[in-house]
Symmetry: C2
Subunit: 237 residues, 2 copies
């Protein structure tokens, strides 16, 4: 049974509870073509069911970066949707079917995902902007009243500061920001809010670098398993 | 600092992880007036911060029904926003500042929340429809590929079947359905999907009643504490 044609894009936000990771499915109603952003291997069967329920043709599995806190679901998705291509930044150093760079536009049906490179949490962090949804998918670069840590995986606070200011805060202020994680159950924010209320990113670059150097965070539980797995697109899981 | 004026309504979905309850903040950008739907006492300080960040004037705290699985945050919100009024169905039997009935329209700035009575999970279950958002907030009447249980608190499967078919499935099929709970991390569905894919509500009324009578669910952990507290608007918590 085919889902009917509506005007607005298909949009689904999903949460994987263990790592508080947000996954997104975005689709074009007219063509049925769709992408998934940051799927998690643990919840991939749930996501497959939704894609099937909506009769979507899954074109790309996009990872905003090589994750350190969960294993990507892209490889598992490819076993079910063999024409799906996994996507990573050309600067990520990881394995994927397709690499993208700053300024590139990923077209799927009537949707256009603009690629913006936002390094700093990792070298290969991407933000995807979908203008018809007036939304940006920032992965772990910009978080809600926070940002990704910069103390491992080529993290660099100065470059994260520049990424957020040059590539995200320059978007229209009403754009909704959909992030990679939130541990307080807040599911979305806006460019306006983070530009005005983010306790770290409203500071000067020097102050930001100082804050980020002194976070004293624990070593992530999953990193030794997750990063090697995600460098090969989640294979073997 | 006042949030700027944008065209679209302010919309926030939030999750309380312990009971997997979804809370919603809906506001009018032009007037700053806002409502909160189904706040949870455990996450009320988070919600207060968002309301303050967005400089919103909180007019109503709406409970879709007298909850059995968590304590409402409406009373705590009133201590911080003393002009806020709590709202319940006139058929709920619970205490609130304002009672609403089927067909009533709650106006807050440019937003209009249409009240639809959808009993069956409890006598006083309400669904709120906001047409400019093309969205329905169904509480525990209609859930994602499921529905509220009908084995306590005046639950009645036949009346729940009629409520969903007469008051929710008659909405335009592209309307997004925002529910009271989801335990799989799925954050939204549509009228079309539930009309076509809900494993219980696509059955005949007799079959539905039979399914609901045989669910053999555990007695809810929080019910003996939550229901008495929620009958008095969450006071004492």
């Amino acid at each position: 049974m085919k889902a009917p044609f509506f005007n607005a894009p298909i949009f689904r936000q999903l949460i994987e509870f263990k790592s508080s990771t947000y996954t997104y499915i975005i689709g074009c109603h007219k063509t049925g073509k769709a992408v998934i952003i940051d799927p998690v291997v643990d919840t991939v069967s749930r996501d497959i069911q939704i894609i099937r329920d909506l009769n979507l043709d899954l074109i790309y599995g996009l990872n905003t970066h090589v994750h350190a806190d969960h294993i990507t679901g892209t490889n598992s998705l490819k076993t079910v949707f063999p024409t799906m291509k996994s996507v990573l930044s050309s600067k990520s150093g990881g394995e994927a079917d397709k690499y993208v760079s700053d300024g590139e536009i990923i077209e799927i049906g009537g949707l256009k995902l603009e690629v913006r490179e936002t390094p700093g949490h990792t070298n290969g962090c991407l933000t995807y902007v979908e203008h018809s949804l007036r939304s940006a998918f920032t992965g772990d670069a910009l978080l809600i009243r926070a940002c990704g840590r910069t103390d491992f995986q080529q993290g660099n606070p100065a470059s994260l500061f520049d990424s957020v200011h040059d590539k995200i805060f320059t978007l229209p202020e009403d754009y909704v920001v959909y992030v990679g994680h939130n541990y307080n159950g807040v599911l979305q924010t806006t460019v306006w809010e983070e530009k005005n209320l983010n306790p770290r990113l409203t500071k000067s670059k020097d102050q930001f670098v100082e804050i980020m150097k002194n976070l004293k965070l624990n070593y992530p539980k999953q990193i030794d398993k997750a990063v090697p797995a995600n460098m090969v697109d989640g294979k073997g899981h």
